[in-house]
C-alpha cells in the first residue's frame, strides 16, 4: 500500500488553486447600490442635490471596495480563468475556480459557468468550445469537474490551454443593514477626506468599516 500520510480522501479531485491566472472580464460600473437618499442623509446634505453626480461616482468606488473586501459581488461579476497543462493530469480532471461561493438555496451568490474552452493542437491553434455535456460544476467545492478528462486534441504546448469563463451572481448578504452601514461609514470617510495626505493623524473610530465587515468575509481553506 502506498503511503497516503497527509493525503485527504479523494484528494485527487481536490487540487486547490490549480489555475495559472484569472482576470475580471465584466463588472457593473454604472449601477448604483446605496440610494441617494441614504447617502445624502448620511452626509447631512439632505435636500442639497447639487453634488448628486459626484456622490454617485463616489458610491461606485465604495461599492466596488466592499465587493473586493468581501470577495462577494453585490452585482454580477464575470471572470476568465486559465489552467495550465499540469492541472489536467488527473482523473477526473478537477479545475478549481478562484472563488469562494456562498451559494445558498435561493441561488444567490451562485456561480454560473458561461463557457469552457481549450486550445486544440491545430496549427495555428484554435480556441474550441467544449460542449456543456462534458463538464459539471461542483458548487460545494467551487470547482469544475470533467468526468471524461480533457479532449484528446488539447494542445500541450500552450502555457494555459484550458479557459473557463464564469459569472458570480449577487449575494443576499448585500441587503444586510450592517454591510450597508459599513459602506456609509466608508462613504463618509472618502467624502470628508479627498486628499491622500493630511497634516495631523486621523483616529479610527471603534466599530468601523473593518469591524462591521469582518464577520462576513469568507474563510478560505
Amino acid at each position: 500500500m502506498s503511503d497516503t500520510l497527509g493525503q485527504v480522501q479523494y484528494g485527487s479531485t481536490r487540487n486547490p488553486f490549480n489555475y495559472d491566472k484569472f482576470e475580471q472580464i465584466n463588472r457593473a460600473l454604472t449601477t448604483g447600490w446605496l440610494t441617494l437618499d441614504e447617502i445624502t442623509n448620511q452626509l447631512n446634505l439632505f435636500g442639497d442635490e447639487s453634488q448628486d453626480a459626484y456622490l454617485e461616482g463616489l458610491e461606485l468606488a465604495v461599492r466596488m471596495h466592499i465587493e473586493d473586501y468581501l470577495g462577494m459581488p453585490i452585482f454580477p461579476v464575470s471572470y476568465r480563468v486559465y489552467y495550465g497543462i499540469s492541472s489536467i493530469y488527473a482523473s477526473p480532471v478537477a479545475l478549481d475556480l478562484p472563488q469562494v461561493s456562498y451559494a445558498d438555496s435561493y441561488g444567490s451568490g451562485s456561480v454560473v459557468i458561461n463557457s469552457v474552452k481549450y486550445y486544440n493542437d491545430n496549427i495555428p491553434v484554435t480556441l474550441t468550445t467544449l460542449a456543456s455535456t462534458n463538464y459539471t460544476y461542483d458548487p460545494t467545492g467551487n470547482k469544475l469537474i470533467l468526468p471524461n478528462g480533457t479532449p484528446s486534441d488539447i494542445n500541450v504546448n500552450v502555457t494555459s490551454p484550458i479557459v473557463i469563463e464564469y459569472t458570480v451572481n449577487p449575494n443576499f448578504l448585500q441587503a444586510y443593514p450592517v454591510i450597508k452601514q459599513a459602506a456609509l461609514l466608508l462613504f463618509t470617510h472618502l467624502y470628508n477626506n479627498r486628499s491622500e495626505t493630511v497634516q495631523g493623524g486621523l483616529q479610527v473610530i471603534p466599530y468601523g468599516v473593518d469591524v462591521l465587515l469582518r464577520p462576513y468575509k469568507p474563510l478560505v481553506m
Partner: protein, 114 residues
C-alpha cells in the same frame, strides 16, 4: 454654552422688487432643505426708548457644495429658515480645504413698537 447639532434648515432665494407705489418687497422662495451644524445661538433683545430690537446671532456650518458656493458668492440673495424664522447672512467663512462653509447669520425683526 454653545448648542451644536445638525438640524434641518431651508435655504431660500430672495428676490427684491418694488411695487407701483414704490414700496420695496422681498419674495422668499425655498431652494432646498439642508442640514447644517448649528451653533453659537445667541439671542439678544434690546429695548430702546421707542422700539424693541431683536438681534439674534447664529452659525450654520454646511458641507461645501456647488449650491453652497453660490450662497457664498451671492450671500445677499439668500436667507435661511430655521425655527420658523428667517435668518440673513452676515458673513460667509469658507474652510481652507473647501470642505465646509460657516455662515454667521442674524435675525433682525422689523422694529416693533413697544
Amino acid at each position: 454654552m454653545a448648542i451644536k447639532r445638525y438640524e434641518n434648515v431651508d435655504v431660500n432665494n430672495l428676490t427684491f422688487s418694488s411695487d407701483a407705489y414704490g414700496q420695496y418687497t422681498t419674495t422668499i422662495t425655498k431652494k432646498f432643505t439642508g442640514r447644517p451644524l448649528i451653533s453659537s445661538v445667541k439671542n439678544s433683545l434690546t429695548i430702546t426708548e421707542k422700539y424693541r430690537i431683536y438681534q439674534d446671532l447664529i452659525e450654520f456650518k454646511f458641507n461645501y457644495t456647488p449650491w453652497m458656493q453660490d450662497v457664498i458668492i451671492n450671500q445677499n440673495l439668500y436667507s435661511f429658515k430655521w425655527r420658523t424664522q428667517d435668518w440673513r447672512i452676515e458673513s460667509a467663512i469658507e474652510a481652507n480645504d473647501r470642505m465646509s462653509v460657516t455662515f454667521i447669520c442674524y435675525r433682525n425683526d422689523p422694529a416693533t413698537a413697544v
